[in-house]
Each structure stands twice: as structure tokens, then as C-alpha cells.
């Protein structure tokens, strides 16, 4: 019978115009992103290498690159880590409260409020850090010093309260709204079916969250955390305002007056008056920040991918 013949060779590859246009658009968008990223990376590398190889006498810091950048990397990682440790659990808790515990009206108003907070510029957070948080933390730091002073983190306390811990708290507050907003959105998407499956087994609301909501939202939570982390790593103004130190020191003490600084804050404070190889050194430190951000993102993605087939996305 003729009707059961195999389709002509050309048939299978017929493409609808809509498909063609759309795949062309998404391909070019993808390529554009890669080109921009590559451009940034090339700029940082080309401009940064002279800074990395510069002789200590040629730069303002008077140090070769590694000893120069190491305290900054240290400060950046410490500040971002503390900010994440504070902000992630709070963001998840608040998001869960808004999406599943609060009465609908209250949840909605809280949701709006948090979306608004996400739009507050960082200069405002910096001012709040200096003007309000720092002075109010002073007695608390004194208390930490007195009672937990045997721990290396709580050495001699600063008298002004303008410490790396204060800066980290400001960062945590800054990244909280965006992470909360994303988490809330994802928690609300949890399929009703799975929530009911948990409830029908006799789960309390918290157990329902653990059985149905968190596993479902896992990769979304990681994405939210990555966005927050990106902002914490790259934040310049708030940290620069609170700490106002240059390169900073490497110290375990989180509440002292000698603080580590962060890469981003150091660039913001130093760029205006830097000349010659010092500019290159700053750009090179920017390259280091770029690499750190990349590594952290890769790590997070691979954590998510490791249990991909259990993600419930299929």
C-alpha cells in the first residue's frame, strides 16, 4: 500500500516559521550574553595582568599582588558568608510564613512590603548602617567581648561599632528582600496535590513544608541564595560606608576596630585617586571577584544538579 510508505527524506526537517524565528531569537540572545561575559572577562584580564605583575614599588599599596589582594578576598568571603548565614534562614522562614502560615490578607501586604524593600538603594542601607546599626551594636559587641572573648572572633571590641560584623549585618538586611520575594514566589507554586499528600498522612504544617514544599523549591531556593550572594559579594557602597578602611587586615576578630575590607569596597574607595599600575591592580582585584562569583555559582549549580532526577521538575 502506498499510504504506508516512509515519509520522503525532506519531510522530517520541515520547520515552521514560528519555530525558526523563536529558535533564532533565543540563540542570538544566548550568544549575546556569552559575548558580553567574554568581553568583560577579556577586559578584566587584559587590564588586570599589568596589575598582577606590577613591581611593589609601582603601586600605591607598596605590595606585590597576592599579599595585596589576599586580605580583600578574605574580607569579601567573610562578609558574604556571615551575610548569607544570617539572611538565608530568615528569608526562607519569612517566605514560608507569608506563603503558608499568615492569613491571606496579611501575607499579601507583607509580600508587597518586601517587594518595596528590595528597591531601596544601597546608599540608604549604608546610612542606616553608620547612623543607626553601628552605634546600637556597640553595647552588644562589648558584651560579646566580655563573655565570649575567649573565642578568636570576639576579640577586643570596637568603640564605634563600625566593624566587619556590622557591615555583614547590613549586607544581610540588604539581600533579605530579594531572596524572600523569590522564595515566597516558589513556595506558592508548590503543587496542591503534594501538599495534600503530606497533610493526609498526618503531617503538621512544618512537616508538610519539609515533605512537600522544600524539596520542590530546592533549586529555586539555591537560585534565590545565589542572587543574594551575588549582591553581597559585589556590594560596594554600604560596606565602604560602614567600614571606610582601605585594604584592611586579615583578622579573625569580627568586632574589632581593625577590619578586613572587601574587594568591591576597596575598588570603590580607591578608584578615584588611583593612577598608573594601581588602577591595573584594582582591576585585577575585580577579576578575582569575578572568578570567585563564577566558582560559587558553579558549586551551587552542581549541588542542585546532583539530585536532578529527584527534583520533581519532570
Amino acid at each position: 500500500m502506498t499510504s504506508t510508505q516512509a515519509p520522503a527524506p525532506g519531510r522530517a526537517s520541515v520547520r515552521r516559521p514560528g519555530d525558526r524565528i523563536f529558535s533564532g531569537l533565543s540563540l542570538s540572545a544566548g550568544v549575546l550574553i556569552l559575548v558580553i561575559l567574554a568581553g568583560v572577562a577579556i577586559f578584566l584580564t587584559v587590564q588586570g595582568i599589568p596589575g598582577i605583575t606590577a613591581h611593589p614599588d609601582e603601586v600605591k599599596s607598596g605590595k606585590s599582588f597576592l599579599p595585596y589582594v589576599w586580605p580583600l578576598v578574605y574580607g569579601t568571603l567573610i562578609a558574604a558568608t556571615i551575610a548569607m548565614v544570617i539572611a538565608v534562614p530568615v528569608a526562607i522562614g519569612v517566605a514560608l510564613f507569608i506563603s503558608h502560615y499568615a492569613p491571606r490578607k496579611l501575607g499579601q501586604s507583607l509580600g508587597y512590603l518586601i517587594d518595596l524593600l528590595a528597591a531601596v538603594p544601597s546608599v540608604v542601607y549604608g546610612l542606616w548602617g553608620i547612623g543607626f546599626l553601628a552605634p546600637h551594636m556597640v553595647p552588644f559587641y562589648a558584651w560579646l567581648d566580655e563573655h565570649l572573648g575567649f573565642l578568636p572572633f570576639f576579640g577586643p571590641a570596637s568603640a564605634t561599632g563600625r566593624t566587619i560584623l556590622t557591615a555583614s549585618i547590613v549586607l544581610a538586611v540588604m539581600i533579605l528582600p530579594i531572596m524572600t520575594a523569590i522564595c515566597r514566589e516558589i513556595f506558592l507554586q508548590t503543587p496542591r496535590l503534594h501538599e495534600e499528600a503530606a497533610l493526609a498522612l498526618g503531617a503538621t504544617r512544618w512537616e508538610m513544608a519539609r515533605l512537600a514544599i522544600f524539596p520542590y523549591a530546592r533549586s529555586g531556593i539555591v537560585s534565590a541564595a545565589m542572587l543574594g550572594l551575588g549582591r553581597a559579594l559585589g556590594e560596594t557602597l554600604a560596606v565602604a560606608m560602614v567600614l571606610s578602611v582601605g585594604v584592611g587586615t586579615v583578622t579573625a576578630n569580627l568586632i574589632g576596630s581593625d577590619n578586613p575590607s572587601t574587594i568591591a569596597a576597596n575598588i570603590a574607595l580607591g578608584f578615584a585617586e588611583a593612577t598608573g599600575k594601581s588602577v591595573n591592580a584594582l582591576i585585577a582585584s575585580g577579576l578575582v571577584l569575578f572568578v570567585i562569583t563564577f566558582l560559587v555559582n558553579f558549586a551551587a549549580r552542581s549541588i542542585v544538579d546532583r539530585r536532578k532526577e529527584f527534583s520533581g521538575a519532570n
Partner: protein, 259 residues
């Protein structure tokens, strides 16, 4: 261990919408009761009011009385969480936890009850539950695979295994076989026969033969019109309902002369 259910004058609402009106029905312990009736007449709604799953929907509430072995299900001292641990449920659409392995899915209820178990004990429960649900042979090689990787009918049997693994006193099943082939359906029906000796079972079904095969009692629900609440038209011994129904609507529905 099985408990009886005594429903009197129950009205069930979604917000202001009265979905099911004035149901009064006794359900004996260690019996199988089938709910039949046309789509949208409130069978699922009524079933969900028997383990307080109805109230998890925003604005949903009930009026009236449900007694479980004489205890008021909606009394102030009843914790819905404990109620649901005692009264298991299988949903109309399969809903295994997609992020959990098959093994963990079966044990999900057990873990909530926070019983500490030895590995061998847990393995036993998993095997027994999966065998009862007729799924063991198909999944014994891949217990560590995600539950969402199963076919629809397998997922439903996994949900049945999950519900019976905690040995509830009452088991509510909402069209458990609607996605199953005849072989798995007969496995589930055998399971129902077997469970009847220990549990009270309520099953919603659109399959008249199934109702006739598995149930001791049958309850027929119907709608008096579009937008009107569903009502319990009649209930009684399954043989009586099927051979000699009192209401003409029941007879029409059973004989497929409906609508």
C-alpha cells in the same frame, strides 16, 4: 482496631457554596462502603470531610456531626493531625512525593509518626506494603529511584502502599482504580477484601461492577440540578441497592440510563 463512622445532618461548604447537603449515614466498622453517583455530586467532597482534609481548602467548612467510634470528629479536642494519622486517604489523582525515592515514599507516613525503626523492620514494611498494593514485583529492583519515574497506575499503587503502610484504622479511597488496568484493579480489589478484616474502608468509584464486587454497603449520591448541592439519595446493603433500589434515580444510574 477498625472504627465505625456515624454521620448525621452533615452540610459541607466551599465558602458560601453548599456542595453537599444534609447527609446522614452510618458506616460500620470492618465493612466496605462504596460511594457512587454522577460527576460533581460531591463524593470526593464528602469523603474528604471524613478525615478533615476538607478544611485545608481556604474557606471550606462543614456543619453537622461526624462520630468516629462515638467520638466527635469535629470536636474541639480533636487534633486534625492525629485524625489524619488514624484515617488514611488515597486521592483521585496519584500524588507520590516526586523528590523521594519509592522506598522513602512508602515510609513517609511512618517517619511522620516518628517511630524509630531498624533497617530490617523498615525493609519489611516497605515490602509488605508494596506487595499488598501489587507493585512489589515491578519496583523491587529500583526502590531507590524517584517515585515520579513510575507510570500513572504505578504511582497510584505507590500511593496506596504509602497509605496502608501506617496501618490506619479507616481507609478512604477516592477512585483508586480509575487509572489502573484490569489486572492491577483486581489486585487492588483483592487488597480491599483482605484489608476489610482489619480496617473500615470507604471507596468512591464510577465502576458499578467494582462497587458490586467489593462493597458490603453502597451509597448513591446525586445532584438535584445544576448549581444545587449534592445529596445522599439512598444507602443500604449493596445487593439490595443493585437488585432492588427504592429510588428511580438510583435504578437509572446503576443501569446506565442516566442523563
Amino acid at each position: 482496631m477498625a472504627k465505625s463512622i456515624d454521620v448525621s445532618d452533615l452540610n459541607i461548604f466551599y465558602g458560601d457554596f453548599l456542595a453537599v447537603e444534609d447527609v446522614t449515614i452510618p458506616i460500620a466498622a470492618k465493612s466496605v462502603t462504596a460511594f457512587i453517583g454522577p460527576s460533581g455530586c460531591g463524593k470526593s467532597t464528602f469523603l474528604r470531610s471524613l478525615n478533615r482534609m476538607h478544611e485545608v481548602i481556604r474557606g471550606a467548612r462543614v456543619e453537622g456531626k461526624v462520630l468516629i467510634d462515638g467520638q466527635d470528629l469535629y470536636g474541639a479536642d480533636m487534633d486534625p493531625v492525629n485524625v489524619r494519622r488514624m484515617i488514611g486517604m488515597v486521592f483521585q489523582r496519584p500524588n507520590p512525593f516526586p523528590t523521594m525515592s519509592i522506598y522513602d515514599n512508602v515510609l513517609a507516613g511512618q517517619k511522620l509518626n516518628s517511630k524509630r525503626m531498624k533497617k530490617t523492620e523498615a525493609d519489611d514494611i516497605v515490602e509488605r506494603s508494596l506487595r499488598s498494593a501489587g507493585l512489589w514485583a515491578e519496583v523491587k529492583e529500583r526502590l531507590d529511584r524517584p517515585g515520579s519515574g513510575l507510570s500513572g497506575g504505578q504511582q497510584q499503587r505507590l500511593c496506596i502502599a504509602r497509605a496502608i503502610s501506617v496501618e490506619p484504622e479507616i481507609l478512604l479511597m477516592d477512585e483508586p482504580c480509575s487509572a489502573l488496568d484490569p489486572i492491577s484493579t483486581s489486585v487492588i480489589e483483592d487488597l480491599i477484601h483482605e484489608l476489610k478484616s482489619q480496617y473500615t474502608i470507604v471507596i468512591v468509584t464510577h465502576n458499578m461492577q467494582q462497587a458490586a464486587r467489593v462493597s458490603d454497603e453502597t451509597a448513591f449520591f446525586n445532584l438535584s440540578g445544576v448549581g444545587k448541592p449534592g445529596r445522599l439519595i439512598e444507602h443500604g446493603r449493596t445487593e439490595a441497592i443493585f437488585s432492588n433500589p427504592t429510588d428511580p434515580a438510583t435504578e437509572a444510574y446503576i443501569q446506565g440510563r442516566f442523563g
